[in-house]
């Protein structure tokens, strides 16, 4: 009873400010743009360019559609993280933890409800991003004569795993938000890590076999492993196959990261005095 109340309250919290739909619009626009360009370049234009004597990177035709669809999570994953982190840090920033803990004195209940509600919203983000990547990217592939392949089970499996990955990323965002209650610090960490630090680490770790074994556990790499396809793994350095986790291992890495961040955050900032 009280947990259901907390769930409904957290859902209403998220839907009564502009944050969720502003981030969702940017996510859809960004994913549509990138998957559209990718579909056009590798599906149609690439061959013409190559025929004209230019050099273009190639992606095997058989998996191109999967790479284009997975743009939804391989570049879109930063949005559910931001949603989770901002929804959580805003409670600290605007001191809404006071009325929240007055209405629900059991703080663990509040955090649990928040993790679940954000997980659901992450899944919604996943669906929206897929509408963009499959809709526009797949449309362009079909128009340029590359298979969009909706008949294969692999396509639908990938779609399901993108949704799961996006849900887990939003949960990680909540964990990060409790761990780093400062909103500015949380945003800086999310952007710096996802856009700069991790891409570099993934690139560097792919140079040697032994680092590659570590690099596969980086959260972005684990997410790509869970989804099963990514522009980053396909366009790896080419010096050999980059080590990639099994899809379920990737999922466990993300889940473990979310649980670890939320648990440490709960023990530190969440249980602290609210002054």
């Amino acid at each position: 009873m009280s947990f259901v109340s907390a769930l409904r309250a957290e859902l209403l919290k998220l839907t009564t400010t502009r944050l969720w739909w502003v981030l969702l619009l940017v996510l859809v626009g960004y994913v549509a743009f990138v998957s559209g360009v990718l579909g056009a370049v590798f599906g149609g234009l690439g061959e013409k360019l190559a025929a004209a004597g230019g050099t273009v990177p190639t992606i095997p035709k058989s998996s191109l559609h999967l790479v284009v669809y997975s743009i939804a999570s391989s570049i879109g994953y930063v949005f559910p993280v931001l949603l989770g982190a901002l929804a959580t840090t805003s409670e600290f920033r605007h001191q809404t933890l006071t009325p929240t803990f007055l209405a629900t004195p059991r703080r663990g209940t509040v955090l649990g409800a928040k993790l679940i509600v954000l997980g659901i919203f992450g899944a919604v983000y996943g669906v929206a991003a897929l509408v963009a990547s499959v809709g526009l990217g797949g449309g362009i592939l079909a128009a340029t004569g590359t298979s969009a392949d909706f008949a294969s089970a692999d396509t639908w499996l990938l779609i399901a795993r993108v949704i799961l990955a996006m849900a887990l990323w939003a949960v990680i965002g909540v964990g990060l938000g409790v761990l780093v209650p400062s909103q500015v610090a949380a945003i800086v960490i999310v952007l710096a890590f996802t856009q700069f630090i991790e891409p570099i680490l993934r690139l560097v770790s792919s140079f040697w076999d032994w680092t590659s074994g570590i690099g596969q556990f980086l959260p972005g790499a684990a997410s790509d492993a869970l989804v099963g396809s990514s522009i980053f793994t396909v366009m790896g350095t080419g010096s050999g196959p980059v080590a990639v986790l099994e899809w379920w291992q990737g999922g466990l890495v993300l889940l473990g990261l979310a649980i670890l961040a939320a648990a440490i955050g709960y023990l530190t900032s969440w249980r602290r005095d609210v002054t």
């Binding site: 009873m1 009280s2 109340s5 907390a6 409904r8 309250a9 209403l12 919290k13 009564t16 400010t17 502009r18 944050l19 805003s90 605007h94 001191q95 809404t96 933890l97 006071t98 009325p99 929240t100 803990f101 007055l102 209405a103 629900t104 004195p105 059991r106 005095d273 609210v274 002054t275």
Partner: protein
């Protein structure tokens, strides 16, 4: 409305690092009256209230509502409603949505949201974003949150802050009405004058310790009477004859230790016509300031 229950603070202490914010504090607050919780800024009022509400963990001691700690209350918002000093609103959310969230969380009827908005005079602003609210409107929204569960106990931290004169008059009569319904009402303030017209009894703390608990009248006996007569020398002589401590004050003589009525009777007895007889202006405030500064050194 559930019955008002007493608030009991017992041996409460809280230290933030080396600072003792609350120091072995004990007092009780009874239902059916408005209790003023007074002390200068930094005296530990807000910390005490936040401990009472389960938001801050005490270093030692207990704070209970009807015998139970806040975190153990079955239905917290129905038992006690609180409006704390800090503005705890998301600026992008409407007043109505703000209240609806906590009504949901506490399992309250959603109809309560419009009822309390109407009660505090915010019905016309229900769908506006809180970010555009004035300080006075935020205070009213805070009060609406406190009333959400129609609780028997109300804990209000500096509710008069930021209200215009009309709002102050409104909240005074509102507090009296709530206490008249049998609720326990605890109102904190750093200014005695803000609450002296609406409280029945006061708890005064300074540097985290209790310095006074009781009625305002008893507090006032420590204040002085300002008296004057065309023949001031005769008046002074008559008063000294009674063994009173008479001092030259601003525009008259200051007499300590007697009520205005007693001083008047002495003058009449001595046949000295008076031109002025009054309780020293700000006497209550002075008595208050004296109390809180006595414990000046921690």
């Amino acid at each position: 409305m559930p019955a008002g229950v007493p608030i009991a603070i017992a041996g409460l202490s809280k230290s933030f690092g080396a600072v003792n914010a609350v120091n072995a504090l004990s007092f009780t607050v009874e239902p059916g009256q408005v209790t003023g919780f007074l002390g200068p800024n930094g005296a530990g009022k807000t910390t005490t209230l936040r401990i009472l509400l389960g938001l801050v963990a005490p270093t030692s001691g207990t704070a209970t509502i009807g015998g139970a700690a806040y975190r153990d209350l079955e239905r917290p918002l129905v038992t006690v409603g609180a409006a704390l000093e800090a503005a705890s609103f998301h600026p992008g959310r409407s007043a109505r949505d703000h209240l609806a969230i906590y009504a949901l969380a506490a399992g309250l009827d959603q109809a309560r949201v419009d009822i309390v908005l109407d009660q505090v005079g915010l019905a016309d602003y229900a769908r506006r974003r809180v970010g555009g609210f004035s300080l006075g409107m935020r205070q009213r929204l805070g009060l609406a949150f406190a009333l959400l569960g129609d609780p028997g106990v109300l804990v209000l931290d500096e509710p008069v802050n930021g209200l215009d004169p009309e709002g102050i008059r409104w909240i005074r009569s509102f507090l009296r009405q709530l206490a008249g319904e049998g609720r326990t009402v605890l109102v904190s303030s750093h200014l005695l004058s803000e609450v002296q017209q609406s409280v029945d009894t006061v708890v005064i703390i300074s540097h985290g310790s209790l310095v006074y608990q009781g009625g305002l009248l008893e507090l006032e006996t420590g204040s002085r009477v300002l008296v004057d007569a065309p023949d001031r020398a005769a008046l002074s002589a008559a008063l000294r004859l009674e063994g009173l401590d008479v001092q030259r004050g601003h525009g008259g003589l200051l007499v300590a230790g007697r009520t205005a009525q007693e001083v008047g009777a002495i003058a009449q007895h001595a046949g000295v016509p008076l031109s002025l007889l009054t309780v020293e202006q700000g006497g209550l405030e002075d008595a208050f300031l004296e109390l809180v500064s006595e414990k000046g050194a921690p």
